[in-house]
Symmetry: C2
């Protein structure tokens, strides 16, 4: 059983996703600053997992705050965690949830407030696992039998508190008896597909084949791919989806070849405050992620690089959005609002 | 001045493209078997360069053949070289050209026949440079001014005897005063874009930005890409284009975003003997190219891999095919036949 993140009394423990699969190391974050650093460095990544990490980061920050300047410390903790990564809305959702609990229980003695926040952070984690299982149940029947499922990046156990969003749908389809196998895009530059998705699916005994990102089109055209399932980092009110760079390309190629393209994500990934994907901030990461692979230089000295970590897939390429509350289809403005109101 | 391949008296000398840009090594192939091995291992790659290497391989093979069993040796030399890589038709074109010269001069004394074949192989190389310059001239005016050109893989000096096909068009556009810069897809798994295209363009002082393959869609959607120019490994009679894996995806994404998609290739890349791209054999290469980067493992032990080295872009995504004899547009069946008959 892979454990992405857990609360360990006085620290947050995470599996180090920068070293997998070569090394299975666990990182112990003993302060909110260490949690923030872990998010920034992608020791933990994946929108739902980042939401859990943010909640736990707030909890550990408050546990170590000075009772005499609690409000001030609390603001600083939340601001520091919020500044780690801009795209996945679950980060802000996790912090906001902790802010609401903080405000509701601010009147309590410090020890009780602290315990309440720690309990909430643990609850965020537990709920996320249940949410992913519900996403899996809702999505399983959409996966065509006897075909290959293509996925991009890692939207599995490692991207969540457990079970996964896109990989949750795949797991649920397998549990429901579907005879499927998986094609995993390697997902440059961070190689989440090669390093994390293949590793996870090997753990589960689900047949997985690794391809480079630029092979996705070839196999979508070949007829062997029954559907695409990916996760999401932020979904706008109109159903535009921000997800790992390359998702947009896969979505266009899926549509061009009449292959259904599914997005699996918790309701916490919806950002109904923005009308469309044009309002989603896209994180630009370090050039060295592209010019180096595991520390080995693959491009000449002085190479200019663009490294947007995400792209936006317009809603017209999205066949359905699978959430824990049900499956949304076009028109998304209405279907997503209805799911949120449930 | 980069020299991809040259005849050196009693050997064929090639720059080792598996080690660039980290090391600028030259490999000396002293027999046709060493030339075949260099093609197979991609010490030399790129369809036109492979054509030159094949011709030089035949020449060196004949120079070392036994005059008493010349016809037999010649067949074995040609068969060995033809078996190295299946997709780029220039390989077979280069061998066939040498076969024609062999037959036409078979009656000569061995020394004269040998010299005639060596001269022909050197001519193939010299002609290729002139052909690429003509391709550049024919394509330069198609490149929109003030925008970025996206290219995939390496179709430059290193893929040819010199100047390049796709990069030849870019070079000619720059020489004609176009204010352009280049986005280079890194082109996994072999990283021709990161390792070779960026390196070549740096040599020429043409501004180049490296992106991962899965970023191409994002930038095609962004509006900054004025056109795509790529090379080709084989073009069917109807204009379907086999080229480096990922080309198909770029072509679809270009069309989806109304960005012109140009293929630059010599007439020797046309294979009018096949009606469409479905007849082009696609080489499957070793899994280790995907699971390892410069010897560093990036996927778990036991990872299953697909590694098709090429894909086929249907003609409907191709805005034009730029050759040394002119620019072909749809319907390609007619326009390509007309260029060939010139």
């Amino acid at each position: 059983m892979i454990e992405t993140i857990r609360w360990d009394g006085d620290a947050v423990v995470m599996i180090d996703q920068t070293r997998l699969p070569a090394e299975e190391n666990y990182v112990r974050c003993a302060s909110y600053l260490e949690v923030a650093d872990a998010i920034r460095r992608m020791i933990i990544r994946g929108a739902p997992a980042i939401g859990v990490a943010a909640a736990m980061g707030v909890a550990i920050g408050v546990a170590q705050a000075r009772p005499e300047s609690l409000d001030e410390d609390f603001e600083r903790i939340c601001a520091e965690l919020a500044a780690t990564r801009p795209t996945a809305v679950n980060l802000f959702w996790g912090i906001d949830r902790m802010k609401r609990v903080y405000r509701a229980h601010r009147h309590l003695p410090f020890g009780q407030l602290r315990d309440r926040l720690i309990a909430e952070a643990k609850l965020v984690r537990e709920e996320d696992i249940a949410i992913n299982e519900a996403i899996g149940k809702n999505g399983a029947s959409l996966v065509p039998d006897g075909k290959t499922v293509l996925t991009h990046c890692n939207a599995g156990t490692l991207a969540t508190a457990g079970y996964g969003t896109a990989l949750g749908v795949i797991r649920a389809a397998v549990e429901a008896g579907r005879k499927i196998d998986v094609f995993a895009d390697e997902t440059r530059p961070f190689l989440q597909g090669a390093r994390l998705t293949v590793w996870e699916l090997q753990h589960d005994g689900i047949a997985a084949t690794l391809i480079t990102d630029n092979m996705a089109g070839h196999f979508l055209k070949s007829g062997r791919i029954g559907c695409v399932v990916v996760g999401a980092d932020r979904i706008a009110a109109n159903g535009d989806v921000a997800n790992k760079i390359g998702t947009y390309g896969v979505a266009v190629l899926a549509k061009e070849n009449n292959v259904p393209f599914y997005v699996a994500a918790p309701i916490s990934t919806l950002d109904l405050s923005i009308p469309d994907g044009g309002h989603i901030p896209i994180e630009e990461r370090a050039a060295s992620e592209v010019t180096h692979v595991f520390g080995v230089r693959v491009a000449p000295e002085g190479t200019a690089v663009c490294n947007p970590a995400f792209d936006v897939t317009p809603n017209r390429y999205v066949t359905a959005i699978i959430t824990e509350r049900g499956v949304a289809r076009t028109p998304y403005l209405e279907s997503l609002a209805a799911l949120t109101a449930k």
